[in-house]
């Protein structure tokens, strides 16, 4: 692991984002560049994994190793990377649909395994890339391309879910406060274990009126300003219930005593097995000795 002095621009690739002008994901990208420049890991030491969606395009806009995988499967693939090369900094990103609809089944398991991953969800409460269908975080009643008369179901609550899965780091941000978001992302990366940041990232083309940058600017409230204690999981749970009603930014929960990561336990197990035998010994136990 090399530590180098890098600026935000060192993480910017030559690929031009194809997001709609004004899309919140631009701000997320800026925040990420900034956060990474604070971390000090070189781009080649970073693996940046995503699913499919507008938001999932983000790895390509960085100079890191990127893997724009398939819809909903970024987390398992990221875990494979981390298992293979624990020395890498592994980031995961995607949309609300990618993460909590099709990919929803992987979140709990990524959390409970506790790999040192940072998972950024760009939550715009809509399916952007496919042009405006219902997303799992779309509020009840929302009219979209697939709910012309309003949605019939209650939304997912990403914050509450991930907290109840036992994650060690759960935060929320918005590109409406880019520097604040950059700080949150940096903290998430620094947390030694699974870290989740829900980013309220407006979709200017298909998103709701109330989910636009202007509204965010007017309504967002830092958790610090409401006197929240980051180490209080119960209080975090309570505040998380306001998802969709209030826009809190900052860290909901940070485990003050991070438990060992999965990769640390793996390393321990490998070491416990003692010296590496020759691969040719692998069949020895099957020898049918006559004595």
């Amino acid at each position: 692991m090399t530590t180098v002095a890098l600026g935000p621009k060192d993480f910017k690739s030559e690929l031009k984002p194809i997001w709609c002008p004004g899309c919140g994901d631009f701000g997320v990208l800026q925040a990420l560049y900034r956060a990474l420049s604070g971390i000090g890991r070189a781009p080649h030491e970073i693996a940046f994994v995503s699913g499919i969606g507008c938001s999932s395009r983000i790895p390509g806009y960085t100079t890191a190793y990127g893997f724009n995988t398939v819809h909903g499967r970024a987390l398992p693939i990221a875990q494979g990377i981390k298992l293979a090369r624990p020395e890498l900094l592994v980031l995961v990103a995607g949309g609300d649909g990618d993460g909590f609809s099709i990919g929803g089944g992987h979140v709990a398991h990524a959390v409970r395994r506790n790999f040192d991953l940072t998972y950024l969800v760009m939550d715009n409460q809509i399916y952007g890339l496919t042009k405006g269908q219902l997303s799992p975080t779309s509020p009840h009643g929302l009219e979209t391309a697939t709910s012309p008369y309003g949605s019939l179901e209650d939304p997912v609550n990403p914050l509450a879910y991930v907290l109840s899965y036992g994650a060690g780091f759960v935060a929320q941000g918005t590109p409406a406060d880019m520097p604040g978001l950059a700080k949150i992302v940096e903290e998430a990366i620094r947390y030694p274990g699974f870290a989740f940041v829900n980013i309220q990232s407006p979709c200017v083309t298909y998103g709701q009126e109330v989910q636009q940058m202007k509204v965010h600017k007017a309504t967002m409230k830092t958790l610090a300003s409401v006197g929240h204690d980051q180490t209080d999981r119960i209080a975090a749970m309570r505040l998380a219930q306001d998802y969709g009603k209030a826009l809190y930014t900052g860290v909901f929960y940070r485990n003050p005593e991070p438990p060992p990561t999965f990769e640390a336990l793996v390393r321990e197990r490998q070491t416990a097995q003692g010296e590496r035998p020759a691969r040719e010994k692998i069949l020895d136990r099957y020898l049918q000795r006559a004595t």
Binding site: G60, T63, Y65, F67, G80, L83, P277, L283, Y286
Partner: protein, 611 residues
């Protein structure tokens, strides 16, 4: 090939020496019939016999019916054999549940539990009355030896050792190992049960005594005994597999179970994922990170892995995927073998995809095939599917010690030097293979994606680029079709009769061919290790002399036959001999079909058959 050698005439004694013996046993789950088989086969293996054992169960986890088939020989074995030489039934209900899996013939020696109350001439075998049938008080002998019926297994072993002279010393050694741990009483009780079994056999001799010939001394203590799943896992470690992503599913789970015991020692790791999608995801992630990776499953899991399998093809990531085939479709028959996932292996992902499929034919062969799979995956940067099946995966087989030095282990071609200056991950090279970097490598940074890309890996919607990349992904695998070493041809090159078979059925066909040739038929056999892509040249060469023949496989549709037709002009006289799983082919049956075909040829040619 089986043969009773009549030696009675010379020695004057009514006795036959058997070079090969097939024993089938069935009982209910608690009876320990499978342990008996295991004891038998490992005793025989340690004494130098070639041995093979398959198990078969009902759907219960515990209790229910269970059976095993043990084949012992002084010659190399290719399959678990057809009609039984010896049948052991602890009760008839359970025995009969296995139907065609435990076929009894007129020459079969039948041994069954006397307490079933069935008279020897009334045993409920449809359409056959074997000449030698023994109702043995197995339960009673066990109780006599131990006070309980716990030692039934040992009685059965005693009977078999007594009647057929099967490795008694080895069996006793095995018993000492197994029961010794449980204390001296348990051991001596079982030893006594064994002795009672032997004595019973001595007191009730066979009408025609049959003793198993002994293997040469130099084979003693030199063999391995294991099943296909363990062999595959061991080979994966030998080939350098460092990450395994898995999810339990019968009959492949033992691969993960082996690796999770062993892989850590070699610096690797196993992750049991939440489902099959995640497990292939883990493997693909590890491969992207530059490590050799594998996942294993059976039919339903294959279906779930389809999408990410396609991603690995498009992103050109090495990956080995083992499918231990069971009866399909859907949940199907999880504990039975079938060869019906070939279509899926070849064609499941959407879009134009080509990935190599390899199939082992025996446990021993599984080593070579697995190492080859890793080599192909790494060299060609592609997923490779190993199509095993429940029979190979779960049957135990004696294997000669492996000469590891004979196996090359390949790794992927990484970029270096100038290649890293303006690195293009998907460089359109002549071979179609582009040097592949991995996170952590300075200068190798690129975007991998499931979206179609240009040479740099950047997304593109260009139809032209898409065509170029499709072409590249197929071109790189073209050399595979010239890998003659991945095909075995046995028999005279100019034979007019041809057999093609694959996987576990290849062993049946080997024996069928020997039977047929012993009867003077001119037959040759082609066994592909590389099942797909279809190596046109190899098949055309093989078929050149063939006027009639069979493609033999265990699936309703005859999937290999159909796939061959896609790419090869299969001679009209070559047809598909195929049927659904758990209705195994017998060597004699295939040989008989060949004889029919030969007759047909004679009629056609209007002349006498060749010798």
């Amino acid at each position: 090939m089986r043969a009773w050698i009549e030696i009675g005439k010379e020695t004057g004694a009514e006795e036959q020496m058997a070079e090969d013996l097939i024993i089938g046993m069935a009982g209910s789950g608690g009876d320990g019939i499978v342990s008996a088989g295991e004891a038998l086969v490992s005793a025989a293996a340690s004494e130098g016999f070639h041995a093979m054992m398959t198990k078969s169960f009902g759907s219960q986890i515990r209790g229910g019916e269970s059976s095993c088939r043990v084949r012992l020989s002084i010659r190399r074995l290719h399959n678990p054999g057809g009609v039984l030489d010896v049948a052991v039934a602890l009760n008839w209900e359970d025995f009969l549940r296995f139907g065609a899996e435990l076929p009894v013939g007129g020459d079969t020696v039948v041994i069954y539990e006397e307490a079933t109350g069935v008279a020897p001439h009334e045993i409920p075998l449809p359409g056959v009355l074997p000449r030698e049938v023994f109702a043995v008080p197995i339960d009673a002998l066990a109780k006599e030896a131990m006070g309980t019926d716990k030692a039934k297994t040992s009685v059965v072993l005693g009977l078999l050792a007594g009647w057929f002279d099967i490795a008694p010393a080895g069996i006793l050694r095995g018993m000492a190992k197994r029961w010794g741990k449980k204390g001296p009483e348990v051991l001596s009780g079982n030893e006594k049960a064994f002795a009672l079994g032997q004595r019973y056999a001595a007191e009730h001799p066979l009408a025609v005594a049959r003793k198993l010939s002994r293997p040469p001394d130099e084979r003693v203590g030199k063999q391995l005994l294991l099943d296909g799943n363990d062999m595959c896992a061991a080979a994966a470690i030998f080939a350098g597999c460092e990450v395994f992503g898995g999810y339990p599913i019968t009959p492949s789970t033992e691969v993960m179970q082996f690796l999770t015991r062993e892989i850590w020692k070699y610096g690797g790791a196993v992750l049991q994922a939440e489902d099959e999608i995640a497990s292939i995801g883990v493997a693909v992630g590890a491969s992207y990170a530059g490590k050799k990776a594998m996942t294993a499953t059976s039919g339903p899991g294959m279906s779930l892995k389809t999408e990410i399998l396609g991603l690995a093809s498009l992103a050109e990531l090495p990956l080995v995927l083992l499918n231990v085939q069971r009866g399909g479709p859907s949940t199907g028959s999880p504990t039975k073998p079938e060869q019906s996932d070939l279509f899926q292996a070849a064609f499941s992902a959407h879009g134009d995809v080509l990935r190599p499929i390899l199939a082992p034919t025996t446990v021993a062969d599984t080593f070579r095939v697995t190492v080859e799979a890793f080599n192909l995956a790494e060299h060609y940067q592609t997923p490779v599917i190993i199509l095993s099946d429940q029979e190979i995966a779960q049957r135990k087989e004696t294997v000669e010690p492996i000469e590891f030095s004979r196996f090359d282990v390949l790794s992927r071609r990484e970029p270096a030097g100038a290649e890293l200056e303006h690195y293009r991950r998907f460089l359109l090279t002549e071979s179609g293979i582009s040097p592949i970097s991995h996170p952590g490598m300075v200068g190798g940074n690129y975007l991998a994606a499931g979206i179609e890309h240009n040479e740099h890996g950047d997304p593109t919607v260009s139809g032209k680029m898409h065509a170029l990349m499709n072409e590249k992904r197929f071109r790189k695998l073209a050399p595979l079709e010239r890998r003659h070493d991945l095909f075995e041809i046995v028999g005279p090159a100019d034979a007019p009769l041809g057999l093609v078979s694959w996987g576990s059925n290849a062993g049946v066909c080997r024996e069928a061919m020997e039977l047929a040739r012993a009867r003077g038929l001119q037959v040759k056999l082609l066994v592909p290790t590389l099942i797909y892509p279809v190596a046109r040249e190899v098949y055309e060469g093989f078929f050149a002399s063939v006027e009639a023949g069979l493609v033999v496989e265990q699936s309703h549709q005859g999937q290999l036959y159909r796939i061959l037709r896609m790419y090869v002009d299969v001679p009209r006289g070559v047809t598909s001999l195929a049927r659904s799983g758990a209705n195994p082919f017998q060597p004699a049956e295939v040989a008989a079909k060949l004889a029919e075909l030969a007759l047909g040829l004679q009629v056609r040619h209007g002349r006498q058959a060749q010798e």
